[in-house]
Amino acid sequence: MKKGYVLSRLLRSLISLLIIIVIVFILLFTLIPRDNIFFDDPTFRKLGGKPDEKTNYIYTTWEKLGYLDYVTISDYCVALYGQADPRVEAAIEPGSVESVQFREEYEKNGYTVAEFTNKKLYAFKDIPIAKRLLTWFGNLIQIDTPWAVQDPNNPDLERYIKFGTTPTGGLALIGSGTVHKYLIYTDSIFPFIHQNIITLNLGKSYPTFQGFEVLDVIFQSQGEEVKREVTFETGYTAESAIIFGTLTYKYNPDVMDRNKFVDNYANYQTRKNQPSMVGTSFIMGIIAMVLSYLVGLPMGVAMAKNKDKLVDKLGMIYIIFIIAVPSLAYIYLFRYIGTALFALPSVFTVYGSGDIRSWILPAISLALPSISGLMLWMRRYVVDQMNSDYVKFAKAKGLNKNEIFSKHIFKNAIIPIAHGIPTSLAVCITGAIITEAVYSVGGMGKMLPDSINKYNNSMIVALVFMFAGISVLAVFIGDIILTKVDPRISLSEKAGRS
């Protein structure tokens, strides 16, 4: 495996990722009218009778989501004279000198200047999609530094990074002036060492999960808070579900915050009793994946070994069933069997994630189609290998059928299967739309369709970015695995063929 090849391969992956995001941006921001994002916004609906506030809300939201630049006459005047200057009051009135200036200046810069019903002015200008893309990629990777926070209300903010401990006793790299208080910290939760220095910024969720970072939406635990007795740095003791490692800078801390914390780091996430969306889907996916490999591979081998005999025919009937019957139907059928015969819960939420019974039916339902796929492929690979010359020679060497299978055929047949394992893993993260819906599992499956239905564009972009990134990475890892299990292939040789 040559370094140069790996690099060019990674570069190509990054370029495809970039193109995917460009395509999604174009689809989302040019084909779908921007008005649609308000369809499911409750705040917007409440503003029905107040046209000016409504207009202001619309433009503010659009600006927040990066559609356009939006300036009102008051913003302009405040910038001109300062926040509390008495001149502002008069300057924002229609017909003022500033209004004329405002119109001239912004029209010259290509803005559209319009009036509220009360004749006050505002201006907006669409941001070209190329610029939006650049901004998106520019903000993608955030690196936390002691100069990250600039709070005019807190000029005395110290700026440092030092070693210390978290209130729960873990080691930590503590920052001040940084966004996160604990840049690196250890605790008892997998993977035990966590870092906040480099974070991905995929934007804020809107209109669903309003105000949350999209990554937090899918990665934070769900359900009810798990509270325990906590002593804060101030000595204040309370029942709380706080995760200290997640503390971030809060610009306007309130009295309660002052009670708990000695500094401005008062935003935190809480521990809840259900795994996150990604976690739920991933756990379910892993169970299903292990199950399908455990069942599918031996079944495929058995079918190949007994080609055209009963086992093969039964296996084929199963495969045809899965191909021909829509998943919706067989998942419902399977759920019916599971609940009627084995008294398993029909929906995930009956016992929740803590109970093994909740996972059984969804995981098996999810495994059904992949078992069929693995059976079909494994059968095919084994049959192919069985006809090869080295198997004939192995027989001539005096090895018996089982030895030939275990020492020769299986190892060859498993190569293409091993190549696909990282991709199967990656698919676990994307979640299963129908299975999760049928069993009411709080996983990732519903996120994409919901986000598209609710026009949660930043969520869509984030999901596509995540899924595509993981799948590109998975194919790459698959290729590396291939070089490990098949001595004939080295990645550099493979470059020409793909």
């Binding site: 090869s388 020679f393 027989k395 090895l399 001595p487 004939r488």
Partner: protein
């Protein structure tokens, strides 16, 4: 061939294959006695049943094929009666080994050369891993792999075609078999490598004393390696004898034709000799002499009745009506009439095709 101990004796072997709903008879009542230590060559064109016949000695017929008649006695065991892998244990790969045509595909591509040799030693001999490895390395050295110990852990794709065939031979011989079946072992190799491999097999045979069955369609190779030759056509041996008898006194018209088509006998500027027509379809019941439709010398009886074996000498038999006293006397074709002199001219040696037998 001083002593004539029969090591393997096949009697009236008939092999049928089931293809869809039809049966084809690939081997029709073939008998053969194999003497210890000899090299017996089986020649014939593609589809004459050479490989199928020898596959019955190791139970390697394809799953749709079956020996439907006859017996193969090997050390008081009738190989035809052996069915399962277990029955074959101790014989296939241990006492009777095979070297196949294509060394490129005979080895498992993802296992090291060493492990593939060790595997067969461990299978047939009760010895430790370390001993097996030592044996394997010495066997590799014996078949002419330089730096055998270093190349033990390499993969087949790191070996050239000739080297791979040496490994295949090493594997086949690693348990000191009594019979080695070489199924066209040099067909897939370069001409220069061919001679090396042929010489290797001959040298090893001298050293280890096994019996060789050599399947080939290359008469040049036959002349180089064989003690005795059997000519196969249409699923039967139609003539057999010592290599000299077959080359210098062939009796069957098919053998004539086969020898006439030796490219070495071609005259510059003239077309090479070739045999007209195509081999018989094995789906049909063959009546009379199976070569008759392609035989310019065919007698009418060749189309009516299958000829028996006629004795030419103690070692030489041919299955043709031409040897019947009632048959008109026919001379063998002109090209091969003075084959002896021609070959002498070609090789510059006393009539021997044999390669340098230092």
């Amino acid at each position: 061939m001083a002593e004539k101990n029969i090591i393997l004796s096949a009697k009236d072997i008939e092999v049928k294959f089931r293809v869809r709903k039809n049966y084809l008879t690939a081997i029709r009542n073939v008998s053969l006695d194999l003497y210890e230590g000899e090299t017996f060559a089986i020649v014939g064109e593609s589809g004459s049943g050479k490989s199928v016949f020898t596959k019955t000695f190791t139970g390697m017929l394809e799953s749709n094929g079956r020996v439907t008649n006859g017996s193969i006695m090997f050390h008081d065991v009738d190989l035809v009666q052996l069915k399962s892998d277990k029955d074959w244990e101790g014989i296939r790969g241990a006492k009777i080994s095979t070297v196949f045509q294509d060394p490129m595909t005979s080895l498992n591509p993802i296992k090291t050369i060493g492990s593939q040799i060790v595997e067969v030693i461990e299978k047939h001999q009760k010895i430790s891993k370390q001993e097996a490895k030592e044996q394997a390395i010495s066997m590799m050295a014996r078949v002419g792999i330089p730096n055998a110990a270093d190349r033990f852990d390499e993969y087949p794709f790191q070996y050239s075609g000739g080297m791979r065939q040496r490994i295949v031979i090493a594997i086949a011989l690693s348990c000191h078999p009594e019979i080695l079946i070489c199924d066209e072992p040099t067909t897939a190799l370069d001409v220069t490598i061919q001679a090396q491999i042929i010489k290797l097999i001959k040298d090893l045979q001298k050293e280890l004393g096994f019996t060789t069955i050599y399947i080939t369609h290359d008469l040049g190779v036959v002349a180089k390696v064989a003690d005795r030759v059997g000519v196969m056509y249409g699923g039967q041996i139609i003539e057999y004898g010592t290599v000299e008898e077959i080359f210098y006194d062939p009796k069957h018209p098919y053998t004539w034709a086969l020898l006439s088509s030796l490219p070495q006998l071609g005259v510059k500027g003239e077309d090479l000799y070739y045999i007209n027509g195509t081999p018989p379809s094995l789906f049909n019941r063959i009546i009379g002499d199976s070569f008759a439709p392609r035989n310019p010398h065919a007698l009418k009886i060749d189309f009516a009745k299958e000829p028996p074996f006629f004795r030419v000498s103690d070692t030489h038999y041919a299955k043709t009506w031409l040897l019947d006293p009632r048959a008109p006397s026919l001379e063998k074709p002109e090209v091969i009439q003075d084959l002896h002199e021609k070959i002498e001219k070609m090789t510059g040696k006393g009539g021997a095709f044999y390669v340098d037998e230092q």
